[in-house]
Every structure is written in C-alpha cells, then in structure tokens.
C-alpha cells in the first residue's frame, strides 16, 4: 500500500498469528451477549489506549444503558510520541480490529461504529475502506449479519486533522460531532452520554484487536498470559537507541532490563515509558516491570543511551505539550508554558532552585487541577526527569560530559 513504510514485527505470540477474517464474528453471534461479556470479564482485558479501564466493564455499562442509538468508536488517533503499534495493527491485521468492532457492536447493541483515524494516517484510508467493502460483500457488515436476524451494523471512517488531544475520548467525540476537539468534563462518561448524547464505548485499536482472539480461545485461556493484574499480551512500540526498533508483542510483566536485552539496547541511560506523558525510568530502576500494577503504559518505549542529554529530551516533550494543549483550562495552558520556560532557564543556566521547586509544585497542582489527561500527565516527564537525572542536569560542571 505504501512502499516507504516498513512494518517490523519482531515478536508476536497472539495478535498477529493466523486469524481467519470473520471467524470471531461468527463465533460471537452463536453466543449470547451475556456469554461474550462473561468471556471478556474472564479475560481481564484492560484498555490498551493508556488508561487501562477494564473493557468488559465498559461494554457492560453501554450494554445496560438505555437509548435508541448506541455507538462503538475505534480510537485510531495514535498521537502519543513513540507509539506506532496501532499503525502496524491497522496495516497488517485490519480484520482483527474490524471484527472486534462488530463483536463490540453486537455485544453493546450498537448499530454503527466509527473509526477515528488520525489525519497523519490518511494513506491507510483507502485500504481500510476496501477492507470494509470486502466485509460488506461477505455480509460481515450490513443487515442481518451472517444471518443473525435483526443484527445490523456498519462502520465508517472519520479522519482527524492533526490534534493530539483528540485522542482523549471526549475530545474525540466532540471532534466527531463537528466541534473543536476540547475535552469534556467527566462525568458524565461516554458510556452514558457519548456521541450525540448516546451511550458510546471508545476503545483503542489494540483493545479491539484482542477481542476476536478472546472470543475464539476463551477468556480464561487468554488470562493465562501476563500477570494476575495485567492479563494477556501487549504490543510495545520500541524506538530510540537500540539495534532492533519496531513492534514487539510480549506478555505483561516483563522487566525493562529483559526488554532492553531483547531489542539490542546498550549503554542505556534512561527509558521513557508511556510516551511524552509517561515517566522516565533511570538505570537504577530497570528491574521494574511493565504492567498495570508497576509501570503502566500504552506501549510507547523510547530508549536513550549515555550520549543523550536528558534536559534536551525534556525540552522536546514540554514543547510538545505547549503545542498540543487545547488551551481550555488554565493549569494546562499556562502551566506547560511555565514548565517549558523553566527548562529553558536551566538550559541557559539562569535558574534558581527556589524557582525550580516552585515549578515542581506547579507540576503537582497541574496533575490534580487539569481538566483532562493531557494536563494531568504532562508534568510527569518534568517531575521524573528533574528528580532522577538531577546530577546530570544540575551538578555537572559546564565543561563536563553533560554539556
């Protein structure tokens, strides 16, 4: 479809294994809705978009909500720096995701699904439209799907237009409604008041891709992978200073050290887990586990070796947030600017510790006072990098290695 893009999958245990398109839908339609929810619950699948909310609970809430219309939305806005696993899934395993949406539509009682595809991925659009048409021809979409009387479901693709915050589920819904992509107050949650006021489930691409496998193999079998609190496998997008960047499907619970060995990373100084809004893990903590109960992540892993300057990394992240803040609430709009200014002061050696400490407090305030996840998590790299790399940033001599 696109000859400049190489989708490198280094390890795959489940998601990219053989899957016959449509088989998940057929099996699901033989089951009752309650049985599907039961299997999902047994699988302990949690959202792969970052927040980690149990998928069975989300679907159950929408299934139980009353309303003439209900919607299922596939969140393909993948904008977190360092994440590209959804791109690889969409390009290499589209039917897994689409089948997951159909199963979701059946389970929650939705008649329509949307794929919100980030504007940068517009090159995939025709390919995905072709996939949808293929499904329509096979009656995997449309009316009375696979002969199931009364189950009508179709999917359309809507493009984003270059706004990171639209990955936040309520901003995404605003965008679909033709509004500025400004996050809403929550509650009410989309499961009650979502797209055009109707009960709506928003799910990450990877979450939906796991569903057909869970239906086919059973929830308990799926939950055998990973740890007790983080079941199943997870796609990690590995980038930065390593020999083998790309997508890895690994079981939850792997330590950062083990991961670094796999991807051929040497002289590693720091690993940023969870993208720009995640946290930076220094070498001394590389024995921590990637799992919801330890270091949670939507899958972005960025590796920095000894030659990188952490202040430069931090500045890049803060510039990102200043640009991408929707500007709706003050802690995030002004706070990120102040944190960036602080980084620039350190860069120019024009800071006082009193001021830096004030900024750290500001960061803590932003975490609680911001309206959405963007402003709540944007101080993370500021706080973690200034704390864990303070020697490099504040103590090194100007003619030292960390110039």
């Amino acid at each position: 479809m696109h000859n400049d893009i190489v989708n490198t999958i280094h390890e795959s245990s489940l998601l990219f294994s053989n899957y016959e398109a449509g088989s998940g839908i057929k099996k699901a339609l033989e089951m009752g809705r309650d049985d599907i929810l039961f299997e999902l619950k047994a699988s302990k699948l949690k959202g792969r978009g970052g927040a980690g909310f149990p998928t069975s609970t989300k679907w159950m809430l929408v299934a139980a909500a009353t309303g003439a219309d209900k919607f299922i939305i596939c969140n393909a806005d993948e904008g977190e720096p360092g994440t590209f696993k959804d791109r690889v899934l969409l390009m290499n395993a589209p039917f897994l995701i689409l089948d997951g949406m159909v199963v979701g539509g059946y389970t929650v009682g939705a008649a329509h699904g949307y794929i919100y595809l980030r504007g940068e991925y517009v090159y995939m659009r025709q390919f995905l439209e072709d996939c949808l048409n293929e499904m329509r021809e096979k009656n995997l979409l449309g009316n009375n799907i696979c002969g199931k009387e009364g189950f009508n479901f179709d999917i359309s693709i809507v493009m984003g237009a270059g706004a990171y915050v639209c990955g936040e589920e309520t901003a995404l819904i605003e965008s679909l409604e033709g509004q500025r992509g400004e996050p809403r107050n929550r509650p009410p949650y989309p499961v009650n008041t979502g797209l055009c006021g109707a009960p709506t489930t928003v799910n990450n691409v990877e979450t939906l891709a796991a569903v057909p496998h869970i239906i086919l193999m059973g929830g308990e079998k799926y939950a055998e992978r990973g740890t007790s609190a983080s079941s199943g496998s997870k796609l990690f997008s590995i980038s930065g200073d390593c020999e083998k960047p790309g997508v890895y499907e690994l079981n939850w619970g792997i330590t950062i050290n083990e991961l670094l060995a796999k991807v051929g990373a040497y002289n590693t100084k720091a690993v940023q887990v969870g993208g720009a809004s995640g946290i930076c893990i220094p070498k001394s903590k590389f024995d921590r586990k990637l799992a919801y109960e330890d270091v949670a992540t939507g899958g972005s892993i960025m590796i920095f070796n000894e030659s990188r300057k952490m202040l430069h990394v931090l500045k890049n992240f803060m510039e990102f947030f200043v640009e991408e803040s929707c500007g709706q609430c003050t802690p995030c709009r002004i706070g990120n600017q102040k944190l960036l200014e602080g980084v620039e002061m350190i860069e120019k050696n024009q800071y006082t510790f009193a001021h830096i400490n004030n900024l750290k407090e500001l960061g803590e305030t932003m975490k609680v006072a911001s309206k959405c996840g963007l402003g709540q998590s944007s101080p993370n790299p500021f706080l973690s990098i200034l704390e864990d790399f303070k020697e490099e940033i504040f103590h090194a001599k100007s003619d030292g290695v960390y110039k």
């Binding site: 400049d4 720096p81 959804d86 791109r87 504007g119 270059g162 409604e177 992509g181 960047p245």
Partner: protein
C-alpha cells in the same frame, strides 16, 4: 473567487452535506474535503458551510482554527511536515531541516512565493522506528537523510 467558482463550491457543499442530512457531524469531513481541494478554506466557503449546516460562521471558523491540518489562509500546493519529536530529533532531524532550508531557500514555517511549497514541523508521525520521517501532502517518507529529503522535494510539482 469568480462567481462561477463560487456557485460550484456552493453546489459541492450542498451535495456533500446532504449525504449527512445536513447534520453537524458533516462539518469535519466537509472541511477536510474543501481543504483538500482548495488547499485552504476560504471565507466564502466558511459562510456557505455555516449556512448549509445552519450554524454560525464563527463556529466554523472556531473549528478550522483548532485543527492544525485545517487553515483559512492559503498555503502552498504542497505541504511538507517534518517530524520534530524526540526520536526523529535524535535520528538527525536537524541536519535534514538545514539541508531542506538550504536547498529550497525557504525556512520552516514559510510558504514559497510561488505558492508551491509550505514547510512545517509536526509532532510524532507514528514512524519512530524508521525516522527521521516527514509527510509530503498525504505521503509518508521514512529513514530520511539530507540528500534523500532534498531529492524528494525536488520531485514535487
């Protein structure tokens, strides 16, 4: 815009919106359609979109100003977006930026006088395992080096 062009545009907008029963959910796809065809969303189009969807023109403008891929001022026929996020930065984004600026005699953030090309930075394109990366219009280019990047931009019309 000529009267004839205006009439055409109005017709296009009406036809497009009718597929959505003139519901507001038509707004984003409609704006993207106009943007793609005219490379920006002119005042006249904004007013027509507002009229057809029965909303205030300011609402239309508010939406355009929010999204970085939508713009009300003309940009180049070709838009180059180079990823500035950390992984591409580490992979050599600065060298590419400088090479392109030298080759085209144009700075990032600017549009060439002949309206042929606009240079912009963008955030992570989801190509971090094969950076440095850029998008030219809808097409992604990966594993850039200064020479390759300049050759790509020489090709575009």
């Amino acid at each position: 815009m000529l009267v004839l062009e205006k009439n055409n545009l109005t017709e296009e907008i009406e036809l497009f919106a009718s597929q959505y029963d003139f519901h507001r959910t038509a707004l984003m796809p409609l704006l993207e359609y106009i943007q793609e065809k005219y490379h920006h969303i002119p005042d006249f189009a904004q007013q027509e979109v507002a009229r057809v969807l029965d909303i205030h023109p300011v609402e239309v403008y508010g939406v355009i100003s929010f999204y970085s891929f939508l713009n009300d001022q003309p940009k180049g026929r070709n838009i180059v977006r180079l990823c500035r996020t950390i992984i591409c930065d580490m992979a050599g984004k600065c060298q590419i930026e400088q090479a392109i600026e030298r080759e085209l005699g144009l700075k990032f953030g600017e549009t060439s006088k002949d309206q042929k090309i606009t240079l912009e930075f963008t955030n992570c394109l989801g190509m971090c395992d094969q950076g440095p990366a850029m998008i030219v219009n809808d097409r992604v280019y990966t594993k850039l080096d200064p020479e390759k990047a300049c050759a790509i931009l020489k090709e575009i019309k």
